[in-house]
């Protein structure tokens, strides 16, 4: 369980990046955070991952207090973050060395490192690239390696800060598939995005605006909260489902493709 109380954060310029954030996120929840550029969502992810320290407010993940410097090692073992640009996250020239680096820093034994590397690479379908050079990988594959590095520590909370914004559509799909599998594994996922269609991946959506939480709702209530999302380029499929609802045709809002929706409509017609 993540508990955030009265979280405030100012930039060095004195401008408020986040103000008065109060939030509770249950364990195993998949939360998507959406907001325009400068809304404070990336700052929030850095604070939530414990990478940036804060003075005002409280963030607790189970018994871990993120403002407590003495718990830094435990924080790193429980929270992992994946950034937008995989190039910044990969340090070594070999996939194995790169994943092992984080595990060594956190004090895992050699045998445990071996097991965790294999398991994490399996989770992202990249096991065959274990001994590959990172320079030979595509951007999408690099991002999957970055996710594997984070998963290797077996974190309670995985934060993804716009992980697909630099990827092509097929790489994006691969990341979505990984996330769907992770969701079932019971890990808490905080997914920060700029793309409205990605909110369908999660169970709950939080909209950030000017450093504040504008709206917080569950996926089942998405259709009744569409007005809060009108500033974003809403995917046609959701608008279509919303219109169908207004005509009394109830189709559950899932991460549907046009083909899947057509099939569902066909079934309803029968």
């Amino acid at each position: 369980m993540i508990t955030i109380k009265n979280l405030n954060y100012k930039y060095k310029t004195g401008e408020f990046a986040l103000s008065d954030i109060n939030l509770e996120i249950k364990g195993n929840e998949f939360v998507t955070i959406i907001g325009k550029n400068g809304s404070g969502k990336s700052t929030f992810s850095k604070l939530l991952s414990g990478l940036v320290k804060f003075k005002n407010g409280e963030i607790k993940i189970d018994n871990l207090d993120l403002s407590n410097k003495k718990q830094e090692l435990d924080i790193r073992k429980n929270i992992a973050i994946v950034f937008q640009n995989p190039e910044n996250q990969i340090i070594f020239d070999k996939v194995y060395d790169d994943i092992a680096f984080g595990l060594k820093n956190l004090g895992f034994s050699k045998d445990e490192i071996e097991t965790r590397i294999d398991e994490s690479l399996k989770q992202v379908n990249m096991l065959e690239f274990k001994d590959s050079y990172t320079t030979e990988l595509s951007l999408g594959q690099k991002q999957r390696i970055a996710i594997a590095s984070s998963l290797a520590i077996n974190p309670k909370v995985l934060i993804l800060d716009e992980p697909t914004s630099m990827l092509d559509p097929s790489s994006k799909k691969q990341v979505y598939e990984i996330l769907k599998t992770l969701k079932e594994s019971g890990i808490t996922i905080i997914y920060i995005t700029n793309f409205i269609d990605e909110i369908l991946l999660g169970d709950r959506t939080i909209i950030f605006e000017n450093g504040k939480i504008k709206k917080d709702f569950y996926k089942k209530d998405l259709l009744s909260n569409l007005e809060y999302l009108k500033d974003f380029d809403f995917p046609g499929i959701v608008s279509l489902i919303s219109r169908l609802h207004s005509f009394g045709i109830n189709i559950e809002l899932e991460d549907l493709s046009i083909q899947e929706l057509t099939l569902k409509l066909g079934e309803l017609k029968k």
Binding site: T13, K46, L51, E72, L73, R76, Q89, F101, G102
Partner: protein, 154 residues
């Protein structure tokens, strides 16, 4: 042409500061800086932040001068550096990078005699300046990624 003249005035101003040891003359330079800050309606907070950022470097210079020279010399050089940094901030803020680079291109014109293109030189400086914020951004991202991988201090 106007920008080139301004650039030449700026160079003369900053150079002359280092040849002045008279306290009253230095005070006069500080006064000029203050007048310029108010005349150009600069944000005082930004000016102070800029001076604060440069303080560690000036402090090191101050310590070195105390160790190898006289105390008065150390104070003098620190004040000179503060004045130079301040006037550079005012100058770059008011003139803008593009204008400075165009002026530099005019200033480098005589180098054509030696077969050096002033446009290329100006372009090199432009690229270098443009990449400063990019480098800082990348540096921040990489350091966060390293921290995420458990790099000390934790």
């Amino acid at each position: 042409m106007k920008n080139l003249i301004l650039l030449l005035i700026f160079i003369s101003y900053t150079t002359s500061i280092f040849f002045i040891s008279n306290w009253i003359a230095l005070l006069f330079f500080i006064l000029i800086n203050l007048i310029l800050i108010f005349a150009f309606e600069l944000n005082l907070k930004r000016v102070l932040i800029n001076l604060y950022k440069i303080t560690p470097i000036i402090f090191i210079t101050f310590i070195f001068n105390i160790l190898f020279g006289y105390f008065e010399e150390a104070v003098l050089i620190s004040i000179r550096l503060y004045i130079v940094c301040n006037i550079t901030f005012i100058f770059t803020y008011k003139m803008g990078t593009t204008n400075i680079l165009m002026s530099l291109e005019n200033l480098f014109f005589p180098l054509k005699i030696f077969g050096i293109s002033p446009t290329d030189l100006s372009l090199i400086i432009n690229i270098a300046i443009t990449f400063i914020p990019v480098i800082f951004r990348e540096l921040e991202q990489t350091s966060l990624a390293l921290k995420n991988k458990g790099v000390k201090p934790y």
